[in-house]
Amino acid sequence: MAGIAASLTVRVQAEVFDTAAEISLLSAGRNDIGAVVSFSGLCRDEGGTLEALELEHYPGMAEAEIRRICAEAIRRFDLQGVTAIHRYGKIAPGAPIVLVVAASSHRQAAFDGASFIMDFLKTGAPFWKKEHRVDGGKGDWVSAKDADDSARDRWRQR
């Protein structure tokens, strides 16, 4: 680990976040960071059929679980900083749902760290998406995907 402790910011909020501002904030005032990777997850319109996603979360545990995942990523990839923000409530197509920013000395750790955090967040952070359809039809809860479990499990085999 570098001389400066890794910074970790985790927020669970209804409000929209400013991706560019969060990326800048993570590296502000530091000259030891060589790579910053960000992932933004947005709400898709599913071919024009989706009016909005409604995200339910487990208050308290949602933030705690994301924090545990990010702390593990910081240890495993020797990251210098992580910012993770996840929204809840009703989210319209095109709007952001989640942001992960990972900073490290060199690019591979930042890429891997952001990917690791997203793979564990999708399967372990207590959020659930419900669809609201354009045609007013009764929306369904989004089903968990086996592919997401597989993506997470790949990290356990490395």
Partner: protein, 86 residues
Amino acid sequence: MRTVDLVYFSWVRERIGRGEDRIELPETVKTAGDLIRHLKGLGDDYASALEHENVIRVAFDQEHVDHDEPIGGAREIALFPPMTGG
């Protein structure tokens, strides 16, 4: 017997018909899996919500646990479906 707070999310919450319960834990209920089976005997709403036991995820005091985890001193037990955030 002692009292625990239960919290439900997503379609588990919808099928049970409320977001939380406070229940007395019988001595025979020792693990997360025991609790799920116990709740299924309390009524049709619980039976419907918890029909597929293996799908139900459990957290004790806001940390994930497996179904064979002893309840121990947990105060808040959450039951919910697989997560779909991100």
